[in-house]
């Protein structure tokens, strides 16, 4: 976050009185948003931390007992957690990497295109707005043996894409890429527009090739925007749930961490171990955000709303 520089307040009584009124007003206007956000996130999270210290199944409420960090040991020594962790990591790395490249290409086209500009910009918003579940079904049915056209078009015969882990992950990642590349490309376009035109011009005059201009002028000037877009998309991909749930129901080791949290808590109503998964999932998100902010020096003041 950017450091805010407070203007030194003039010491006249009238102004301080106005400043005080403004302060009270500002707090009052922010209070409802603050209360709603705390009530639904901070409180349930603390509740999850407490629950995670107990052995507690809804099907056996009488058997509730304090087990300390036992649930965490159970979850972290279970291969399921690590399988789901690796699945989540694979999906995140592949989808974000491809989206970054593809998003750049799209941003460049939208930046340069003259004829058909608004048509392209309109079309690209459709995948962004479409329901994720619908997108997951569309791609699933396209690859499914009894309904899909993909095998016919590419001469793959009766290859079953949902038959093993890697091909299932391929389809999941494909659906994810189709749905979310527009978002990242729009963010990159916003960054692209900000690169000063005179810098490009100066580089051109100095005889820089297009590739050099991209590497030395465009990218360095977009670094902050790229990092913010990356952070948001990485965390978004890390929380992926809809695609694996709809496409594979977690078969062939395609279950993700969000899916595991859902299954433990809602399907199996195993609230003790489920809450441990919830807390661990939360911690993984904190670690990723931390790596971005400290490790990659992502400047979050790039995010609007902060002055």
């Amino acid at each position: 976050m950017a450091v805010m520089v407070e203007a030194p307040a003039p010491a006249t009584a009238e102004v301080t009185d106005r400043a005080r009124r403004e302060r009270r007003m500002g707090l009052m206007l922010s209070a409802p948003a603050f209360v709603v956000m705390v009530f639904v996130t901070a409180y349930p999270l603390i509740y999850a931390v407490v629950l995670s210290l107990y052995n507690y199944r809804l099907t056996d409420p009488a058997g509730k007992e304090f087990v300390g960090l036992g649930n965490y040991a159970t979850v972290l020594t279970d291969p399921v957690w690590w399988t789901d962790f690796s699945t989540t990591l694979l999906i995140t790395v592949f989808s974000v990497a491809v989206e970054l490249v593809l998003g750049f290409a799209f941003a460049f086209v939208m930046y340069r295109i003259l004829r058909g500009r608004s048509l392209v910009r309109t079309a690209i918003l459709v995948p962004y707005g479409i329901i994720t579940v619908v997108s997951a079904y569309i791609w699933r049915f396209a690859f499914q043996l009894d309904s899909g056209f993909v095998n016919q078009w590419f001469g793959l015969g009766d290859y079953n894409f949902f038959g093993n882990r890697w091909s299932s992950l391929f389809v999941i990642v494909l659906s994810e890429i189709w749905k979310t590349t527009p978002f990242i490309s729009l963010l990159l376009l916003a960054g692209l527009v900000q690169v000063p035109e005179e810098l490009q011009e100066a580089a051109r005059v100095d005889g820089a090739t297009a590739w050099q201009r991209l590497k030395r002028v465009t990218l360095p000037n977009m670094k902050a925007a790229i990092m913010v877009a990356l952070l948001f998309r990485t965390l978004d991909a890390w929380r992926i749930f809809d695609n694996p749930f709809i496409m594979t129901v977690g078969a062939n080791k395609t279950e993700t961490l969000s899916f595991l949290a859902y299954r433990q808590n809602v399907t199996l109503v195993n609230l003790g171990a489920g809450s441990a998964v919830s807390v661990l999932l939360f911690l993984t998100v904190v670690v990723i955000a931390f790596i971005f902010v400290k490790g990659f020096r992502t400047d979050l003041s790039q995010v609007r709303g902060d002055r």
Binding site: I138, D146, D158, A229, G305
Partner: protein, 277 residues
């Protein structure tokens, strides 16, 4: 002309993007018009052999879908309305005032935008059942409101910053009352930003799936994405694939209409709320 040639190339690339974005929709529409009894085959085709309306008829007579549509529309609209109103106050304060806690509120919104919703399904499931709002509209509206607030606050404060607030004083100097100045000068300037925020928030509520299947159990509050995942065919001998696609077409239409009408605003809103322009 080298310039003309280059510009044509960009248009060709643009057409490829167009194809990439719209092709899956074509597939969805095509599948939704296939005959539910006979569409499955060893070598499926892209387009239907015979175009039939059966799937759409089934969808609109299926109470599971019609109730889900009703739930979705109301839950999304109410949550959007509340989120936009609450965020409007906060964004106004952020854009116009200096007060302690402003940075904290923004950091908190940022943290919640990154929050893994899946970490809350357990505790919320438990809390909602003891509060008696499990499987109700309210039970979904509350968390939707929460997770839509960061987006709403950012987008709106970004828009509100661009408003020339001094016009309000100018109007008052010209003899307007404070209320008149606000209503005649500020409201028209702020309205587009508020409206854009509402569209983005609506998209979020319309699309949400994880909380929708975790906090509902019957058609009393089940939304469209959740209902889609429970769809079965007209009879147990039929595959539900073509119905799911017909229902998908129906719920994609509002999204496409919003995008077509408000393309410019949505673009502005997405980028304004996310990265400094």
């Amino acid at each position: 002309m080298a310039g003309r040639k280059a510009s044509n190339w960009w248009t060709v690339w643009g057409l490829l993007i167009l194809l990439w974005a719209l092709f899956p929709l074509l597939w969805m529409v095509s599948l939704s018009f296939k005959n539910p009894d006979t569409f499955r085959s060893v070598e499926p085709t892209f387009f239907p052999q015979v175009w039939v309306w059966d799937n759409y008829k089934t969808v609109f007579t299926d109470s599971l879908f019609t109730s889900a549509l009703r739930n979705s529309v109301f839950i999304a609209l109410i949550a959007t309305f509340l989120a936009v109103v609450i965020a409007m106050f906060a964004a106004y304060a952020i854009a116009r005032m200096d007060y302690p806690g402003k940075k904290f509120l923004l950091s908190m919104a940022l943290a919640i935008a990154m929050f893994p919703q899946a970490a809350l399904v357990g505790p919320l499931f438990n809390m909602w059942r003891s509060l008696g709002i499990y499987d109700t509209w309210l039970g979904l509206i509350i968390p939707y409101l929460t997770f839509a607030l960061p987006l709403s606050i950012w987008t709106m404060s970004a828009f509100f910053r661009q408003i020339p607030w001094e016009m309000e004083q100018a109007a008052q100097v010209d003899g307007a009352t404070a209320w008149q100045a606000f209503r005649k000068v500020i409201v028209p300037l702020a309205a587009p930003g508020v409206f854009t925020t509402a569209i983005l928030t609506f998209f979020f509520c319309w699309n949400e799936f994880l909380l929708a299947i975790s906090l509902t159990s019957t058609d009393r509050a089940r939304t469209v994405p959740a209902a889609l995942s429970f769809f079965t065919g007209a009879s147990q001998f039929q595959s539900p694939i073509t119905y799911i696609m017909a229902a998908s077409v129906v719920v994609t239409i509002p999204v496409v209409i919003l995008v077509l009408i408000f393309q410019r605003r949505i673009m502005a809103g997405l980028t304004a709320g996310a990265v400094k322009g």
